[in-house]
């Protein structure tokens, strides 16, 4: 029962993340949505590692957390740099490149 509930939670997080990516305009909002997707995957790994009694998958979740932090660090640095040039962090308002 709890497995099912937690699976629902993980999938809901994933869907909220995708929804956020599609609707957010703020660059930081986009980073947060990506964070949700990564956490959904980490939650899945922890959940399934309990189910299968597989300790390596718990380590996988730790790696995800660490790499998500790296990604957020680099992402924020890049946003800061971009905002110096364009004075905005709205992803829609930045279009020097044609896209």
């Amino acid at each position: 029962m709890t497995v099912r509930a937690l699976l629902w939670l993980a999938h809901a997080l994933f869907c909220i993340g995708i929804f956020g990516i599609l609707t957010r305009r703020h660059a930081i909002g986009l980073l947060l949505s990506i964070e949700l997707i990564l956490n959904a995957a980490a939650l899945n790994f922890v959940l399934f590692s309990r189910v299968f009694g597989h300790a390596q998958a718990q380590a996988f979740a730790l790696f995800i957390i660490a790499l998500a932090a790296c990604e957020a660090g680099i992402g924020l640095a890049i946003i800061l740099r971009l905002s110096r040039y364009t004075k905005t962090v709205l992803a829609d308002d930045v279009h020097v490149l044609k896209g």
Binding site: I37, A42, N44, F63, I74, G75, I78, A91, H95
Partner: protein, 479 residues
């Protein structure tokens, strides 16, 4: 436990040297703003790593580090490809004047880290290793894409990061579901667990593969995950663009092949989807390339088109297709890096990335124009250059795999692609030059051009050597 680690290290010296070298380069770069010693350190690291790779014994297939990594002939091909691609990029970066001199040291360190990541992607034998390797390549590449001091470069790197993080997140979710379905993390265990799956679970497996494909499609810029390619290529420094167009593509294909090899059971229902995406990828890339006026964007769309050809080898999923894919990857590495070396030379001289900068290049720098034409004709697949050999094998694989549509679409696309490649050659030879002063090409770029040109010609004229190496080495243990 420690004996496993020491035994593993024996086959893993190249990566160890590269990682240690990268860290030393970072420290040295923050110590001194003089690039000369840092560049020397970078070359020493690359040289030592190449020597170690040459000396590495290659047994059929050995699992290292508790099965996280597998060293086999297949990964050996990709380790060499990664090393050559990064070495060429270091050459180009040293010669190009767009990156600020005080930042170059860090860029070299990041390039070495990318080399480690590319090698790991080809060697990964475990979901965790695959994810970490991909992130190592991606995180370094996000930073490198933003190394220029302008808003274009910063925007390119933000776009790259957002697209990259999203697609790797989707892939990661797919990995977690794959683990949930099979209860295994190592590829061989997953393959074993997949054969035991019942019918509804096999259908779930197809969905999982589509999620996994999202992450890898981003790396190899396959439609519909190609949107970042032209923008990032345009904004990033030219040398970085050169690396992005070959390194991650090759490693992405390596990982794709390995993953699909583990999930072979779920392949039949996906053949039609992958074949359709292959045709869309090549057609889209080649058609949009026709109307480009910026040479980096042109090469970006040409890359998407080339990835389409490469995907044929993957879509037919036979040993002939795999061999063709590997041969074309080697060919593509040299011809595309060569083409980008020409772009570096032209951008250095004129400061412009527009196609007009190529006008009348033949009168200003005849050698450069000749080399550039060579690479473009090879990309178009004209015999006797190496691009022709690769394409010939890929088309042959499509016909042999009974996927006539792929062969027809690829032949049609080659005709479209010929137009924009030859158009660039026409501009170089028959366009009226904006300036008439002859210009000298930097020695490092000349070296890169020479290596690529010799490889493009020699492998095209004597394909036997390449074919025998790749046939004997790579096919034996996979498929």
């Amino acid at each position: 436990m420690s004996t496993v680690l020491f035994d593993s290290l024996r086959s893993w010296w190249p990566e160890t040297i590269l990682s240690a070298g990268a860290l030393i380069v970072f420290v040295a770069a923050s110590w001194t703003h003089n690039t000369r010693p840092v560049l020397a350190l970078t070359w020493a690291t690359l040289g030592a790593s190449a020597l170690a790779l040459w000396q590495t014994p290659v047994p059929p297939a050995t699992e290292l580090f508790f099965g996280l990594i597998v060293c086999d002939p297949f990964s050996l091909v990709f380790r060499w490809l990664a090393l050559v691609a990064v070495a060429m990029t270091v050459l180009l970066m040293g010669a190009s004047n767009d990156i600020d001199v005080s930042l170059r040291g860090e860029a070299y360190g990041l390039l070495l880290l990318i080399a480690v990541g590319l090698m790991l992607m080809a060697e990964a034998n475990h979901l965790l290793m695959a994810y970490v390797a991909m992130e190592l390549v991606s995180l370094s590449a996000y930073v490198l894409a933003g190394f220029l001091d302008d808003s274009r470069s910063a925007e390119a790197s933000l776009k790259y990061l957002l697209f990259g993080a999203l697609s790797s997140g989707i892939m990661l979710f797919g990995m977690s579901l794959l683990f949930g379905l099979t209860g295994q993390l190592a590829f061989p265990d997953i393959a074993r667990a997949c054969t035991a799956l019942s019918d509804p679970a096999t259908q779930a497996l197809s969905l999982i593969i589509l999620l996994l494909l999202a992450g890898l499609a981003f790396k190899i810029s396959m439609v519909p995950f190609h949107m970042w390619t032209p923008d990032v290529y345009e904004g990033a420094p030219v040398a970085v663009t050169a690396l992005l167009s070959v390194g991650p593509k090759a490693a992405g294909f390596a990982l794709l092949i390995r993953l699909m090899h583990a999930l072979q059971v779920a392949w039949p229902p996906l053949v039609a989807t992958v074949a359709a995406l292959t045709i869309v990828t090549m057609t889209f890339g080649n058609l949009v390339a026709l109307v480009q006026t910026n040479v980096k964007r042109l090469l970006a769309y040409s890359t998407i088109g080339q990835v389409g050809y490469l995907l044929i080898g993957f879509a037919v999923n036979t040993s002939v297709g795999l061999q063709a894919l590997l041969v074309y990857l080697v060919a593509y590495l040299f011809m595309n890096l060569g083409a980008f070396a020409c772009v570096v030379a032209v951008v250095n001289e004129s400061g412009s990335e527009s196609l007009d900068a190529f006008r009348g290049l033949a009168t200003r720098a005849p050698g450069l124009a000749l080399a550039c034409s060579l690479f473009l004709l090879s990309l178009a697949g004209i015999p006797p250059l190496v691009g022709f050999i690769g394409k010939f094998l890929l088309f042959g694989a499509a016909i042999e795999g009974r996927q006539m549509w792929l062969a027809v679409a690829a032949a049609f696309n080659s005709a479209i692609a010929l137009y924009y490649y030859v158009n660039l050659i026409r501009l170089m030879y028959f366009g009226r030059p904006v300036q008439r002063t002859p210009f000298r090409v930097a020695p490092a770029i000349r070296l890169a051009l020479g290596v690529c040109a010799v490889a493009t010609l020699a492998l095209g004229l004597l394909p036997g050597a390449l074919l025998s190496v790749i046939h004997a080495q790579a096919i034996l243990n996979l498929l």
